[in-house]
Amino acid sequence: MDRCKCNSDLSSPKHCNIERLRDIKDPEHPYSLEELKVITEDAIEVDDVQSYVRVTFTPTVEHCSMATIIGLCLRVKLLRSLPSRYKVDIRVAPGSHASEASVNKQLNDKERVAAALENPNLVDMVDECLAPSYG
């Protein structure tokens, strides 16, 4: 994950910021998302000019109940790390999850993300997953 497609320009914001995702911990395991292959280098698209980021992650099993939490973690981490000009899209890899459409909808709905972050239990969970990713 530490090198996205555009690694020719090492000092670009994309490279720097994408690196931040690799250490996020899985909600159910003591491993990082990279170790579990939930997110890979190829699954991230960055367009610096258009200020656009798209992350496609692959849940470990089709019925993974944690897919939304993982997506939320990714979104929070990127929100905290990227300049505000970026639009972030987070999706489940096509065909990798049973309720793909609803997860995608939930993750990209501003209101629902905001509502989720009002929930202290969820925020605690997210923070725990993100804890190791701040060096």
């Binding site: 914001p13 790390s81 990227l82 300049p83 505000s84």
Partner: protein, 1156 residues
């Protein structure tokens, strides 16, 4: 009477369990001191305590006996009568049976048993009685930890100090010990246990002794501790680490050969463990036991041990991490971990113990033979798979270790492998006549098999190391008749040729590396066993030299050749091989010296210098030669420079000088002081200048002048006082013959100074280049002079330097600073030869009106000579109105002088800084600054140019920062410890109110600048203690400095000070009050456009701020987060990374949501 009542009280308070520990300790001390000072005898004490010692109350009796024991433990060195000791030990021995007061009995026994002979010892019979009672009465494992420890200490003491009296107990003793130590688990007790077993084994070395029959049982107890598994979380609590335990257990294991049938199988079995530390331990223990058990007993395990070693090495070596360019390469560069290292150590040990056995194992080993048989597939390094490389590496290590262990084994290894390797390499044996058929030369030109080459080099290297190791021991221990010698001799010629041709033709790094190594080894055999003829040795040198001169484009080859030459040089220098030294001198050193002086531009000049300085470091005699060559080259170049206008390239001269001052001079200085060598260069440079009266050059060559000055400084600095004296005399004579130097005598009257100064100044105005050279070089000599070295005609020199300072000559200013720094005080005896003491010199400097006279006409009339200590110099600095350049020069000069004074801790530095401060305060006269009344009245009308004020502020940087060029330890400056701290603490109380009160923006900003210079060079500790007061000013400075791009460096160093304060606990407390201002400033610096480091550090400071008390920083949260979100878009990656950290830190101090 008083004594006895005190005694009674003390005994009571010790025995009384309800008293506190400190009270008990105090009463114990009282009683001990009574007995120690002979106020009370031991018998008296016992009588006094009778009731406590014999009562039927268990608790009181236990305390009473413990008291007696403790008192005795503190009286170990007090002489006691034998009868007393006898009765006491009898008492304690009896009490061992009394388990309720066992502690006291053990302490007492131990105290008595540990007595030395001169203070009265326990007799053998008594000791025996103790041992007997111990074995009968004590169930050690049922006791608590502390009691067990005492028991073991007592046992150890018995075994160590009274071996004769406990030995007759025989079986009973061994059995008792087995019982006592069985299943002990406490680390401290275990240390003692292992030690007891070790001593016990020493006690019964007999085949028929009790230990021999109990060995199995004892080892059963001991063996279960192996490998030590130590999980105690804090080793430092006990003062015992795993390694200590492991070492003690090794000693216990190897204490007696009787353990051999049990220990070796156990260790070999544990080698197959999956735990790395178990493997390492097994190998270590095997090494230890092998030596102790002896060759005979180990015989039957040889096969198993060899297999185990092989196995351990093959399985533990990791991938190669080192390349062929690195310095310390072993074998093929595979990394050997601890297991492999221990295995190789073990191999070495067993081979030393029984070489014939292990060598036959190695020679017969199928794996090794298979590799040798299939070695033809290892044609080229790059084609070998990792596994193949690993195998090759391991075989190489085996062969090299076995050949290294002794001459006999070396012979054996050579016999078994060398001819085969030669055959594979395609080198036939030299026939009787010594000639080779023509076919041979064609054979040599083909590529060498890499595998064979590598193994052959390993063999050669181990043989060489073996012979070199015998240097001191009888040199004839290796005679020419040894097999390996004759073998090597018959092949040496061919090998040399083969290696040379590989060096020349092979494109592969690995081949080149080993060929160069091979040649180096062949050339570095000690004379009496060297298989090489001198002609062959020379041909090796010639090969390397031709690479140095011709093949400089092949970097690796060139570097390796140079390294090999350096190694050969230092080897023959160390072994005093006169014949070889002379050929080395002829072939290498002279050639390389001629390289430098030749006008040959095919070889890049930096490489020439690298080669020459490298070769020089290999031996003193070479270096002396090389120094000569180098110096001559420098002289030729310089004289060309003086004489001809068209200097070919000053670049070369500069490089030569740099090489001379950076590499050659320090080496000469480190390797013995060669004053005459060091002296030669400066003196010759001076005479050269002397002889070239006319400099025809018109172009300024500042770089060349700088390099010459540096070389001059370094050379002079390394010289002794006498040599420095000679140099200074020489330099002075040149100086005084120059056109501008005033030869008439000065008197000390100010007016005459002024007159003389005027003339001087006029002369200085039209300095020729030659004069400038002379002046700068003279300044360099003065800078580097030792404090003891006298400077001739100091007053004139001072005048001269002061005049030249006005022309902007920094070296002159630095020289002046050095002079005032090193000059002896009037009362000092060192003054003898110098005609001017410090006070006088300072007087001269500060009173001189030179500065005024310089600017024709525009001299401000200053009050001049007011009271005695007044400095008219200051006024004169202020005096020049029309032209501010000389003023700036004068300030720079003054700051160097101030630095010299500051370093030695002279009080006049205060005056100097006051002058600078006056400049800074120039623009607001209303300020009632006390100093003004004296010296500033003259200049109050002045309107100073801002650049002058700025240079006065920057003078503080010169004062505080360390200089590479002068006034440091290298150039013998007188440096008072903590001078920076002292200056800081004198300046701060002055600067602080000035900055606070000042309204004028210019002088305020300049004061801040000065403040920043001082604070950024002060160590952090004094700053921290003042942090509270300093923070507001630091913040002021930060906001002032971030306007101009030129201030970025000082801004950065000031920010570093702030971050130092913020990361310190004490500093953080000081920041709390000003937290808001700090945050304001830092958020502004986040967008500082001129320097990435400033932005990064500012964000780091903000991260540190987030650790302040929550209530204090919470209000700033939104502000910080807004500022940081801009930094997330920073063009530099490091800044963005810090920004994310900072954002997280600040976002998380309150709600963790994203909605800021």
């Amino acid at each position: 009477m008083a004594e006895s009542s005190r005694l009674g009280q003390s005994i009571d308070s010790f025995v009384d369990a309800s008293c506190s520990l400190t009270q008990q300790a105090a009463s114990l001390d009282t009683i001990t001191s009574l007995v120690k000072n002979d106020v009370l005898s031991v018998e008296g004490l016992v009588r006094e305590m009778e009731m406590y010692l014999t009562t039927t109350d268990n608790i009181i009796r236990a305390r009473g006996i413990l008291l007696l024991g403790e008192v005795l433990a503190r009286l170990v060195s007090k002489p006691l009568e034998n009868a007393t000791i006898h009765s006491l030990i009898g008492f304690f021995t009896d009490r061992l049976a009394d388990w309720k007061c066992l502690r006291g009995a053990l302490v007492g026994c131990l105290a008595l048993m540990r007595r030395k002979r001169d203070a009265g010892m326990v007799t053998d019979t008594d000791a025996k009685a103790v041992a007997h009672s111990f074995l009968q009465n004590l169930q050690v494992q049922s006791l608590g930890q502390h009691d067990r420890k005492l028991c073991f200490e007592l046992l150890e003491c018995l075994l160590e100090c009274y071996p004769d009296s406990v030995a007759p107990l025989g079986d009973e003793l061994v059995y008792g010990i087995c019982e006592a130590v069985d299943s002990e688990k406490d680390p401290q007790c275990l240390m003692l246990t292992f030690r007891i077993i070790e001593v016990l084994a020493r006690l019964f070395p007999d085949q028929s002794g009790p230990l021999a029959s109990f060995a199995g049982d004892l080892f059963e107890i001991l063996g279960c501790y192996f490998p030590i598994h130590f999980t105690h979380p804090k080793a430092e609590d006990l003062g015992i680490k795993r390694d200590d335990l492991s070492e003690a257990l090794t000693l216990a294991f190897s204490s007696t050969p009787f353990f051999e049938p049990f220990a070796i199988p156990l260790l070999l079995e544990k080698l197959s463990s999956s735990l790395p530390f178990a493997k390492v331990d097994s190998l270590k223990y095997l090494s230890g036991c092998t030596l102790k058990y002896g060759a005979e007993r180990m015989l039957k395990h040889a096969g198993a041990i060899w297999l185990a070693i092989k196995d351990a090495i093959y399985n533990s070596i990791q991938e190669p991490a080192l390349s062929f360019t690195s310095e310390s390469l072993v074998g093929l560069g595979f990394q050997e971990n601890e297991i492999a290292k221990e295995a190789l150590t073990l191999l070495q040990r067993v081979i030393v113990q029984n070489d014939s056995l292990y060598l036959s194992l190695i020679v017969k080993d199928e794996d090794i033979n298979m590799i040798l048989n299939t070695i033809t597939i290892y044609e080229s390094y790059n084609d070998i798979y990792l596994q193949g490389k690993l195998k090759l590496h391991v075989v190489g290590r085996f062969l090299s270790i076995s050949a290294r262990s002794s001459i006999a084994s070396c012979n054996r290894v050579f016999e078994s492998y060398f001819p085969r390797l030669m055959e594979i390499l395609g080198l036939p044996v030299k026939n009787l006549s010594g000639d080779h058929s023509p076919i041979v030369s064609s054979l040599i030109s083909k590529r060498l098999n890499f595998g064979a080459l590598y193994l052959c080099i390993e063999l050669l290297a181990s043989y060489r190391d073996l012979t070199a190791g015998f240097k001191e021991i009888a040199s004839k221990s290796i005679s020419a008749s040894e097999t390996c010698y004759s073998m090597l001799q018959s092949y040496s010629n061919l090998l040399t040729k083969a290696f040379c041709s590989t060096l020349a033709t092979s494109p592969q790094d690995a081949d080149i590396y080993f060929a160069a190594k091979g040649l180096q080894i062949l050339a570095t055999f000690p004379g009496y066993v060297s298989p090489m003829l001198t002609s062959e040795f020379e041909s090796i040198l010639i090969t390397f030299m031709s690479i140095i001169t011709l093949h400089f484009k092949k970097t690796l080859l060139w570097k390796l050749s140079l390294k090999a030459l350096v190694n050969i040089g230092s080897f023959i220098d160390e072994y005093h091989e006169s014949e070889k030294v002379s050929s080395y001198m002829g072939v290498v050193v002279e050639k390389i010296v001629s390289l430098v002086s030749l006008d040959d531009f095919t070889m890049p000049f930096p490489l020439k210098l690298e080669a020459i300085s490298g070769i020089g470091t290999s031996g003193l005699s070479y270096m002396l030669k090389i120094v000569q060559g180098l110096e001559e080259a420098i002289y030729t170049n310089l004289s060309e420079f003086y004489a001809h206008e068209n200097m070919k390239s000053p670049d070369i001269t500069v490089r030569l000088l740099e090489c001379y001052s950076n590499k050659v001079l320090p080496w000469i200085h480190e390797n013995g002081s060669f004053d005459e060598v060091l002296l030669r260069f400066p003196v010759n440079v001076w005479s050269q200048i002397e002889s070239h009266v006319d400099f025809s050059i018109q172009v300024q060559e500042m770089e060349l002048l700088d390099a010459t000055m540096t070389a001059m400084r370094h050379a002079v600095a390394f010289c002794s006082v006498e040599s420095q004296n000679k140099i200074i005399q020489k330099a002075y004579s040149v100086l005084s013959s120059s056109t501008f130097f005033p030869l008439k005598e000065f008197t000390s009257l100010t007016i005459q100074f002024q007159l003389g100064g005027l003339q001087l100044a006029q002369k200085i105005d039209n300095l020729s280049y030659r004069d400038e050279w002379i002046l700068s070089l003279f300044a360099s000599v003065v800078i580097a002079a030792r404090p003891q070295t006298p400077i001739p005609n100091l007053k004139e020199i001072l005048q001269l330097f002061m005049t030249t300072i006005l022309k902007g000559s920094v070296p002159a200013a630095q020289a002046l600073g050095s002079i005032v720094n090193k000059l002896g005080k009037e009362s000092n005896e060192l003054k003898i030869s110098s005609d001017c003491a410090l006070e006088e010199a300072l007087e001269t400097i500060f009173r001189t009106k030179l500065w005024n006279s310089h600017d024709n006409g525009a001299v401000m009339k200053c009050s001049g000579i007011n009271n005695g200590s007044e400095m008219s110099f200051a006024d004169s600095c202020l005096g020049v109105v029309n032209n501010n350049l000389p003023q700036i020069h004068a300030i720079t000069g003054l700051s160097w002088i101030g630095k010299g004074l500051l370093l030695r801790g002279h009080e006049k530095v205060k005056d100097v800084t006051m002058i600078f401060l006056e400049f800074l305060l120039e623009n607001n006269k209303s300020d009632a600054f006390p100093l003004k009344q004296n010296s500033l009245e003259s200049s109050c009308e002045l309107d100073l140019h801002p650049s002058v004020i700025k240079s006065a502020a920057d003078a503080f940087r010169i004062l505080m920062s360390d200089s590479e060029v002068c006034l440091n330890r290298k150039f013998h400056a007188v440096i008072r410890p903590l001078y920076k701290q002292r200056f800081f603490s004198t300046m701060m109380p002055i600067l602080q109110p000035l900055i606070m009160k000042n309204d004028s923006s210019l002088s305020r900003s300049m004061l801040c600048r000065a403040f920043a210079h001082i604070i950024s060079d002060t160590p952090l500790t004094p700053i921290l203690s003042e942090a509270k007061k300093l923070i507001p000013i630091i913040l002021d400075c930060l906001s002032m400095l971030n306007k101009d791009i030129q201030d970025k460096d000082i801004l950065y160093s000031l920010l570093l000070v702030l971050s130092g304060i913020l990361t310190d606990k004490k500093g953080q407390e000081a920041v709390i009050e000003n937290a808001h201002h700090v945050v304001n400033n830092l958020t502004k610096l986040i967008v500082y456009p001129h320097m990435m480091l400033v932005r990064e550090t500012a964000i780091q400071c903000l991260v540190a701020m987030s650790e302040l008390p929550h209530a204090r920083i919470y209000p700033m949260r939104i502000q910080v987060l807004r500022a940081i979100s801009n930094a997330l878009n920073d063009p530099k990656r490091a800044v963005r990374q810090e920004a994310v950290r900072c954002r997280q830190a600040w976002a998380s101090i309150a709600s963790r949501s994203l909605h800021f």
